[in-house]
């Protein structure tokens, strides 16, 4: 192993066919921890809108939240693969944790590469231990898939930035400690696109910032908010990377985000298939377990096949990323396959439960939102296809 200039542990790009002993131990340890809480814990917090604090703290204390953060900042110094394993196991036990995508996944990937020395020292240890949580504010009413259209502006006033504008669908702001903010600091005269800059908002309760909840179909502990910035003042050192070049750090958060979104889906798919197997082998309707019918078996088998195909791509994308190789195509493909496989497995499991599929007691239908979400946010399935069409196939840009 060597440390790359980027500070990431560089590994060779290999993917073992069998899980290593370390992976087995990591999976079973995390799985045991989550198993103590179970899906009812997730459900209860989804209802109350409180974070899964006890689980989060236990994972943090055991060092499982900061696996992708360099050791010098209190992290595990491992990689995205290990972090993704943790999140997949959480999801496979019915406790998918969106906060990990945002905090460790996005902020935890961007800051080691683009943060100043002070920012790294200030924020990374908190991300690694889980004591401080980041969320991420990019989307605006007129800037979703097209982030170049961001209109929330940051203007220098003396040595402070003054932020004005609106963000929406921002997850978890009510329970975060800090957040990353993308704002426009200028316009590229040639293209008309915004020159974007990435900021850290240290205090989510800062003066001039209002938030309003947006009710959504997502049943998760994280709530979504519209954020109104009315003259919020940020210090000059809140900028991450260079002024006007915010897309660069942003892009370094994208692949981890794709992989982590994907493992939420593969994890929930595993959870759903486990549930379906347990249920259909015990439930009898015509004198034999319903699992004896091909109409029940085959859809589950298909879901299992699609799940394993998706997982193959997920771990490949993670391994490439950890080896410092270009991983954009694989990460997008992984997210595409996993979001479909997750939805299919969950939907099939719901169907095979009959009426119970919709009952809270069986803990399936409430996971629909978090899996379905992965086809919309942070990039939609269509934008993934645009990426593959353009970059993998070399087709003309269509939008």
């Amino acid at each position: 192993m060597t440390i790359t200039s980027a500070g990431r542990v560089d590994r060779t790009a290999v993917l073992p066919l069998e899980p290593t002993e370390e992976e087995r131990v990591l999976r079973s340890t995390v799985s045991d921890i989550v198993g103590r809480f179970g899906h009812s814990y997730y459900m209860e917090r989804s209802r109350s809108g409180e974070p899964m604090r006890e689980l989060w703290e236990l994972l943090g204390k055991s060092g499982f939240l900061g696996l992708n953060i360099p050791e010098e900042y209190g992290g595990g110094g491992a990689g995205l693969t290990e972090l993704a394993i943790v999140l997949e196991e959480l999801s496979a036990r019915g406790c998918p944790e969106l906060a990990m995508v945002l905090s460790q996944g996005i902020a935890g990937s961007i800051l080691p590469l683009h943060g100043s020395a002070e920012q790294k020292a200030r924020y990374l240890p908190g991300i690694a231990s889980g004591a401080e949580k980041f969320v991420f504010a990019l989307t605006e009413p007129d800037a979703g898939s097209n982030s170049h259209n961001v209109t929330t502006s940051a203007q220098l006033d003396g040595d402070e930035w003054v932020i004005r504008g609106t963000k929406y669908y921002i997850s978890g702001v009510d329970h975060c400690d800090h957040f990353l903010l993308v704002a426009r600091t200028g316009t590229n005269e040639a293209t008309g696109r915004g020159r974007l800059t990435l900021f850290i908002v240290d205090d989510p309760n800062i003066a001039g910032l209002e938030r309003q909840p947006i009710p959504t179909a997502l049943q998760a502990p994280e709530r979504q908010f519209t954020l109104f910035f009315d003259g919020v003042r940020l210090p000059a050192d809140a900028v991450v990377g260079e002024v006007g070049h915010g897309l660069r750090p942003l892009f370094d958060g994208l692949n981890p985000e794709r992989v982590l979104s994907a493992v939420i889906c593969t994890g929930v798919a595993r959870y759903a298939l486990d549930r379906a197997v347990a249920y259909t082998t015990q439930r009898q309707v015509w004198g034999v377990p319903i699992a004896a019918h091909q109409g029940v078996q085959h859809p589950l088998a298909e879901a299992a096949i699609e799940l394993e195909a998706a997982r193959g791509m997920v771990w490949r994308a993670a391994a490439l990323f950890d080896a410092g190789r270009p991983a954009g195509e694989e990460a997008n493909m992984a997210k595409f396959l996993a979001s479909r496989a997750g939805l299919k497995a969950l939907d099939t499991a719901i169907q095979m439960h009959g009426g119970n599929g919709l009952a809270d007691e069986y803990g399936l239908a409430d996971l629909w939102g978090i899996v379905r979400l992965q086809q919309i946010a942070p990039v939609s399935t269509q934008m993934v296809l645009n990426h593959i069409a353009q970059h993998t196939l070399g087709l003309p840009r269509s939008y």
């Binding site: 019918h293 091909q294 109409g295 085959h298 269509s398």
Partner: protein, 368 residues
């Protein structure tokens, strides 16, 4: 359509179907169709004579004033269902539907009278091309002569008369005056041929329609063709389903009829529902063509968008669920699969028609 017509089959249509089916069972069993695919002759002349002379099916949709039977495209659609069902090699779609619709649209009464008696005509446009979609290099017409080539025309080798769209006109050419060269094609139950009118002197041609009358006539013939082709696809799909149901009801594996496995039952049930939808859109398209409803363009493209896909699905399921035997020459499945595949390209692909439906229902155009 303001009042949606009944999409059910009338008694008259049922009787017509029974007469055609019985004729085809005697004179066009699939073994004969298969055998003919190895021969050199495009179109089963003997069968054509039986259909046109004995059953009088050539002028079915034509008025009695030109010697037709005074029925409508609805009845023609029923005949096409039966012809599709038996993958017959007769130029019915190309002559009785496409050429007749064009002749009718340009008011070529003399030609219509010939068609009503069983003369065979073909419109010289590549089979895969919607008639109202401009071809890249159409034949040129000047001073009573036509020059140039048209590739891959279905029903041309069987034709007595060719109707040729040229710039600003539709002209009539005697098939004998053109060089018609059959080319091998996937579906040998409906062959295609290249037409060459010659480069130098060309061939003699008479004008049937000119200028402003041309686009509307081509559009009408295109819509009728697309609408009616759907019935052929429907009949084909229906037959594939029947053959397959019959087979899974007698074939045993693991000590059971394979049709008792849910995996196969459900697939066939899915196919049944797809065919029910195909029937609805095909019947609606035929009904719109019959009364020249203003919904015809939408109905025709919708029918193609659906039926092209369903016919292929049915033929593919037929091959798959027959196992190895479905893959052999001695089983008709391949005839259906090839016809379904060729039909899916004919008069515009499903994708082309989906796009057209989009334009017709005012969806924003796709960026090119």
């Amino acid at each position: 359509m303001s009042d949606v017509p009944s999409l059910l089959y009338t008694d008259v249509e049922d009787d017509l179907r029974a007469a055609v089916r019985s004729m085809l069972e005697s004179h066009s069993p699939w073994a004969r169709v298969l055998e003919r695919t190895d021969g050199d002759v495009a179109g089963d002349r003997k069968l054509w004579t039986l259909l046109t002379d004995d059953l009088g099916l050539a002028g079915l949709a034509l008025g009695e004033d030109v010697g037709g039977a005074g029925a409508s495209w609805r009845e023609v659609a029923v005949v096409l269902e039966e012809l599709g069902r038996a993958v017959c090699d007769v130029p019915y779609l190309t002559s009785v539907v496409t050429a007749t619709a064009l002749a009718e649209a340009v008011g070529a009464r003399e030609l219509l009278a010939e068609l009503a008696t069983g003369a065979v005509a073909a419109v010289a446009v590549p089979f895969t091309q919607p008639l109202d979609h401009p071809v890249s290099d159409p034949p040129r017409f000047a001073a009573g002569r036509i020059r140039g080539r048209v590739p891959a025309v279905a029903g041309a080798a069987e034709a007595d008369v060719l109707l040729v769209p040229v710039a600003g006109a539709v002209v009539r050419v005697a098939a004998a005056d053109a060089r018609i060269e059959p080319v091998p094609s996937l579906d040998m139950t409906r062959r295609v041929a290249d037409i060459d009118f010659g480069a130098e002197g060309g061939a003699a041609a008479t004008v049937l329609a000119e200028r402003d009358a041309v686009p509307a006539a081509l559009a009408r013939a295109a819509a009728v063709s697309a609408a009616l082709l759907a019935s052929e696809q429907l009949g084909l799909a229906q037959r594939c389903l029947e053959m397959t149901v019959e087979y899974v009801g007698q074939r045993r594996q693991f000590g059971r009829l394979i049709g008792s496995y849910q995996a196969l039952k459900h697939r066939l049930a899915d196919l049944w529902t797809a065919i029910a939808q195909a029937r609805a859109v095909a019947r609606y398209a035929a009904a719109c063509a019959a009364v020249d409803d203003k919904d015809l363009p939408v109905a025709a493209s919708l029918a193609q968008a659906v039926c092209s896909v369903v016919a292929q699905q049915a033929a593919e399921e037929c091959v798959q669920l027959h196992g190895g035997i479905g893959f052999t020459w001695e089983h008709p499945a391949h005839l259906y699969l090839k016809r379904a595949r060729a039909d899916a390209l004919a008069h515009g692909t499903a994708g082309w028609h989906r796009r057209r439906v989009g334009a017709l229902v005012d969806l924003p155009p796709v960026a090119d």
